[in-house]
């Protein structure tokens, strides 16, 4: 799997991220790696108010990432058949769409 692009994970427009997975399943790899990226110190330092909650289950359920944005919109990523880079790119496109003004201001 390719490493993520140079753009770091910016969580400015995100309120809450809930990740739940069952570690004994084999389709959890991409979700776990996505979690590792999103909950890293660099990502969390962009927005200290954002909470990252991880739930470990054992009921053979699918791995799911539930993202709640600041304006109330919810994004559900079902990580069973997705790769980490796909999840990350989808998540980042949503973040960028929510917060284009902020990013443009920061770049300038």
């Amino acid at each position: 799997m390719a490493a993520p692009t140079k753009a770091a994970v910016v969580l400015k427009a995100v309120k809450k991220i809930i990740v739940q997975f069952c570690p004994f399943e084999s389709n959890v790899r991409s979700t776990r790696e996505f979690l590792a990226l999103v909950a890293s110190e660099k990502a969390r330092s962009t927005n200290l108010n954002c909470e990252v909650i991880t739930t470990v289950k054992h009921d053979k359920s699918e791995p799911v990432v539930d993202v709640t944005f600041v304006d109330g919109e919810r994004l559900l990523l079902k990580g069973a058949k997705l790769s980490r880079s796909e999840m990350l790119s989808a998540f980042q496109s949503y973040c960028a769409a929510k917060d284009p003004l902020g990013k443009a201001g920061a770049k300038k």
Binding site: P23, F24, V56
Partner: protein, 248 residues
């Protein structure tokens, strides 16, 4: 005009000009890549190495000999450590830490060491290959991504859970306690169990309840005991009488 110019540049027929301007040429050793002389360029282009094309493309047939990669020495040392760990320690927990700063790790290590739990890091590949060879092969799917091992000789689940609750980014995935694989929920349940001595005491008391009851009854005053026995006989006879009536 051409004659006068030719006269100046080539004083004698076929000879190089006496005055050559070297202002624009670069020296032999330059910091940038000096462009090769055209003749040299042509020579290199002509004499370039062209590797022979294989008759069969690379991935067409499977390899004749199975390439068995030998473990490097460092990997062997790590595997030896792991083996010792699994033999000695009763509790091995796998925790996923998505991020933790050095300070948090130090704090966590300190808190856990007070209860006798050590924090260990092992490379995932080594861990997986070791587990697939050993008995605990079902632990292999747990070891994906950034994982840390918490090992301890005594299974102290309650203290471990308490310490983990203080650090939000550590997620307990599962544990192998006394050669039994437990999930996160299983570890929580295990921690709620009373200790072995308490359970043994309860079992012993349950078994000896009847005998202790009898012993206490016999130790009482004999008059009391005879009164009780008479009462018991009366009750039995009264029960048997209606039963006999119902039967007939």
């Amino acid at each position: 005009m051409a004659a006068t110019l030719c006269g100046k540049l080539l004083p004698k027929q076929g000879w190089l000009p006496l005055i050559q301007s070297v202002r624009h040429g670069s020296k032999a050793v330059t910091r940038h890549r000096k462009p090769l002389h055209f003749l040299k360029q042509k020579l290199l282009a002509v004499t370039r190495y062209v590797p022979p094309k294989p008759v069969v493309p690379k991935g067409a047939y499977p390899a004749e000999k199975q390439q068995v990669q030998k473990d490097s020495d460092f990997v062997l040392i790590l595997k030896r450590d792991l083996k010792k760990l699994f033999q000695e320690c009763k509790m091995i927990a796998v925790v996923h830490n998505s991020n933790s700063t050095v300070e948090e790790m130090i704090n966590l290590k300190y808190k856990l060491y007070k209860h006798g739990i050590t924090v260990k890091f092992f490379p995932n590949q080594v861990m997986r290959s070791f587990l697939s060879d050993s008995v605990h092969s079902n632990m292999a799917p747990l070891i994906v991504g950034p994982t840390v091992l918490f090992v301890s000789k005594e299974p102290k689940a309650k203290e471990m859970l308490r310490t983990l609750r203080s650090s939000p980014q550590m997620t307990l995935l599962g544990a192998c306690i006394d050669d039994t694989l437990l999930s996160a929920q299983g570890v929580v349940n295990y921690s709620k169990l009373p200790s072995v001595s308490v359970v043994q005491g309860e079992l012993v008391s349950g078994l000896t309840m009847m005998t202790s009851h009898t012993a206490s009854m016999l130790q009482r005053h004999p008059a009391h005991l005879s009164a009780l026995l008479q009462q018991y006989v009366k009750q039995n006879s009264s029960e048997e009488a209606p039963k006999a009536e119902e039967a007939t």
